[in-house]
Amino acid sequence: MQATKFQVKLYTRAGGIELEKLVPVFHEWIRNKKISDELLIDVADYAHVPQGPGVVLIGHQSDYYLDVADDRPGLLYSRKRGFDGDFQAGIDDAFQRALRACELLEAESSLDLEFATDEVLFRVQDRLNAPNGDATYAAYKPALEQTSTAFFGAAPSLERVGTEREPFAVRIRTGASGSVADALAKH
């Protein structure tokens, strides 16, 4: 079975972030259906957990985290349900949704957030279909390179990260220096 539980994280340009400011923003996204093609349900606040998921916008198809894992804040898109499309399209879609969420967050005047595009963390939360090993990496590498190039232009450099007991993860150095809007426009 093909894995679909993809996660894409883009990091903020400045390190610090006041997580509590995300809570009203995400509630407002639910109220005003800011992500119009997804069902958004609730907000989970884990700001009290060090290096944790931060503040989570819980949806039906996906969750959106302002995640502070490894003390590196970033927007983490996490698909939970199946994706109606092929493998490459599934990865493209995850990147696109992550970037669109970043763009929305950058537009929030209360946050003063900006996201970097030079680095992307890609993960698959499915140890059955995508164990963290060389075979999975070999299967995902071409698709990730294609997606990264499509959004960020330059040839990326990829590195598999973590151990086999952790979810499959790839750190992508995109070679880009532009904005989130640039990346979305390029695709």
């Binding site: 349900i41 606040d45 009290h48 998921p53 969750d63 140890r127």
Partner: protein, 747 residues
């Protein structure tokens, strides 16, 4: 591999594999709409698959209630429970004991199926939230492969068996209760005699009488270890519980020999299944049966049941190897280095406890609000493997305890926690609060207990070093509603969520409960001092602790101080902050901690018509509150009869206010008020709580029927006041519903 079932193969015990397959089949049948909603709901509950807030497909976004358009359409997983709506999985961890491998698998599931957070509950379970029901079977298989089952984690069954986290390593224990807790867990799991309960059944073990860890007094069945004439046994108590009306368990057996423990539990289960309430959920816990028949009759019933039991070799088989559950340290014992750094020493003051075994310690990892991440879970598993072995225990204070830490390794273990940002000090102190999920995820939550405890923790941690030791030692616990999952009754300062109607809007409040006792297995429960707006609770904590520090005599403890000055004095202390400012002046009071949505439902009318009606009923409810406070004072003064009467009077006053609000003429005497209340509010279900139904109305009707207050003893009076408190809360809620209905009709 295409499935976890294939991948795990025979690593899943055969019986558990069959059970999961069966559940998966039931899921398919439900999807085909071939299973009844109620039957499926109880089925999944008994598998630990629980509901969560908004799973009815409705959510108020702060501007009004909106439908959550899940793609499943009208498919449900229980009455009013939408199939696609996220739910919670409660994972039983018997006596809180976890191995490193189990912690790793739990962490994997948190990442793949939840939101990367593992939550430790006040009953030593682990909960994962935002789970889709169709992912539950594979989660269960992965858990089963490491010896964990979610069976009977919820539903009307024997819930997780809890025990002191220091069992086996404690200096004050009579003996290690672990093998007994393990035996009863296995014996009762799926036992035919525990399948027909009207409600849940909770069992707890304690190794001694004095320390709080086991908390047996508020369990349905509790066992405290004792040795008599060289023989092991237990003082067994029955019929305790928190919930809406907290009850101290009664002694069922002063000394139950170890070989009689399992048959006694079986006999109790059979009596409960046979005679316990089945129709009225509100009175179905065993505490109501014990109250109804009396403890002496209950003992007799259990003894008769025990006589008729067919012998079962499992009753005593485990006694042949009481060391089967022993843990083996992975390191040699030793002393803590004398040059340990200051940071370590500050942490060790409350987070490191010497074990009975010389040279070993139990280390408490404090978890903020009981939460930790999957990444932290894996790292903690590594620490366990390196320093302590498979000796992790979830605690009832929502922490993790690592036992068998050699003193030689204590600093290195601490350094490991520092690297994980998990070295918060102050375990068991005022900053180490416990909280139920409250409005964050619980369907029954009234106020944001997690939001509140998060806020208090943040504030108190900043000033932790400056706190007087007597204040720092206090325990605070919060529950989002009267069901008391946060165990607030047993805290020095407890909070329970309530709502109040102010100026036509709802305001989140917490009732403050003072005087609960955590020690001696939670020997006594606190009483409500008064409701304070949520946003004023931090001020309330300051006022209460300052009043204590300023007015205590010598080294007088907080509990002794409260016992001496009484709750009336604290009501005066809190009076200035009990009334929220008008909405126009400060709208922040009208939303809860950590939740910017307006707490009130936006369409409540505030027109002139409502304005004319509101003052009278609010006056009546306030008068009832005052009567209840006076009754609490009477109880403190040792006047149990007057206290019980006062509680009843307060209920009658509140009932009268509501009856008159319905424009029904009513006389001043209690008979007429109760008769009219029954006709117009009870029988019409207007007074019914959405979840507790007629439970609170029944308190008034029952007490009116008894009319023997003058003979009430302390326990009866205490219960009467608890019931009156809940009746008043229900009266406030009823008034809010009536107001909303009137506003809707006016529109």
């Amino acid at each position: 591999m295409t499935s976890w079932k294939e991948q795990l193969g025979d690593r899943i015990p055969e019986q558990l594999a069959g059970e999961v397959d069966l559940f998966e089949g039931q899921i398919e049948l439900k999807k085909q709409r071939k299973l009844d909603d109620k039957i499926f709901a109880e089925t999944r509950l008994r598998r630990g698959v629980y509901g969560q807030r908004y799973d009815n497909g409705l959510r108020d976004d702060g501007t009004g209630q909106k439908t959550l358009a899940f793609p499943c359409g009208d498919l449900t997983k229980g009455p009013d429970t939408v199939w696609d709506a996220p739910g919670m999985m409660r994972i039983k961890i018997p006596f809180g004991k976890l191995t490193a491998k189990q912690l790793e698998v739990l962490s994997e599931l948190a990442e793949e199926n939840s939101d990367s957070i593992l939550h430790v509950t006040t009953r030593q379970d682990i909960q994962l939230h935002f789970i889709h029901i169709e992912e539950a079977p594979d989660m269960m298989r992965r858990l089963a492969s490491v010896g964990i089952t979610t069976r009977e984690a919820c539903g009307n069954s024997v819930r997780n068996v809890t025990a002191c986290e220091y069992a086996g390593v404690c200096k004050t224990q009579a003996f290690d209760v672990t093998p007994y807790a393990n035996a009863i867990t296995k014996f009762l799991l799926g036992h035919p005699d525990v399948q027909d309960f009207g409600r849940k059944f909770k069992i707890a073990f304690s190794g001694c009488e004095d320390n709080p860890c086991g908390l047996v007094t508020f369990h349905d069945l509790g066992a405290v270890a004792h040795v008599r004439d060289g023989k092991r046994g237990f003082r067994v108590v029955v019929g305790g519980g928190l919930g809406a009306v907290p009850v101290q368990a009664k002694v069922l057996a002063e000394f139950c020999p170890e070989e009689e423990l399992l048959p006694l539990a079986q006999a109790v289960s059979r009596v409960f299944a046979r005679l316990g309430e089945k129709q009225s959920r509100a009175r179905a816990r065993i505490k109501f049966l014990v109250q109804k028949v009396g403890i002496d009759e209950f003992k007799k019933l259990v003894a008769e049941e025990r006589e008729g039991l067919r012998p079962d070799e499992r009753w005593t088989a485990f006694l042949d190897d009481l060391h089967a559950t022993d843990e083996k340290p992975v390191r040699d014992p030793g002393a803590i280095p004398s040059d340990a750094p200051a940071g370590f020493r500050a942490w060790a003051e409350h987070n490191l406890k010497p074990q009975a075994q010389e040279g070993y310690y139990s280390a408490i990892v404090t978890l903020p609000l009981g939460d930790f991440t999957a990444t932290q879970g894996r790292a903690l598993a590594d620490l366990a493997r390196k320093y302590t072995g498979d000796s992790i225990r979830c605690t009832v204070e929502q922490n993790l305890t690592f036992r068998w830490l050699s003193g030689v390794d204590a600093v290195a273990f601490y350094d490991g926690l520092v690297a994980l940002q998990m070295a918060a000090a102050g375990a068991g102190t005022i900053t180490d609060m416990t909280s139920c999920p409250g409005t964050d995820t619980c369907k029954l939550g009234i106020s944001a207990s997690r939001g509140l405890t998060g806020e208090l923790r943040k504030r108190l941690t900043l000033v932790e070093g400056e706190l007087d030791p007597a204040v720092r030692a206090l325990r605070m616990k919060a529950s989002g509603c009267f069901n008391s999952c946060g165990q607030h009754h047993a805290a020095d300062i407890g909070f329970t969520g309530v709502s109040r109607q102010v100026g036509g809007r709802k305001v989140p409040h917490f009732n403050i409960v003072l005087g609960g006792q955590w020690t001696e297995n939670a020997k006594s429960y606190g009483l409500v001092v008064g409701a304070v707006p949520s946003k004023n609770i931090p001020k309330a904590v300051d006022l209460i602790t300052q009043h204590y520090l300023t007015n205590r005599e010598g080294e007088e403890s907080f509990q002794a101080f409260i016992a001496r000055v009484g709750k009336r004095e604290f009501r005066k202390v809190l009076a200035p902050i009990q009334k929220p400012p008008p909405y126009e002046e400060d709208p922040s009071y009208y939303s809860d901690w950590g939740n910017p949505r307006e707490y009130t439902i936006g369409d409540i009318g505030v027109g002139e018509c409502a304005g004319e009606i509101v003052p009278f009923v609010e006056f009546g409810l306030q008068q009832a509150e005052q009567q209840l406070h006076d009754a609490q004072d009477a109880l403190e003064a040792g006047q149990a009869g007057a206290a019980a009467l006062g509680g009843f009077t307060a209920m009658v006053t509140a009932a009268k206010a509501l009856v008159r609000h319905l424009e029904v003429q009513v006389k001043d005497d209690a008979d007429d008020v109760v008769a009219n209340f029954k006709t117009h509010l009870h029988d019409t279900t207007l007074f019914h709580d959405p979840f507790a139904k007629g439970k609170f109305a029944a308190y008034l009707l029952k007490m009116h029927g008894e009319q023997s207050y003058e003979n009430a003893n302390d326990e009866i009076a205490h219960r009467a006041l608890d019931e009156a408190q809940l009746f008043l809360e229900a009266a406030h809620a009823c008034y809010e519903r009536l107001t909303q209905a009137a506003a809707a009709a006016a529109e």
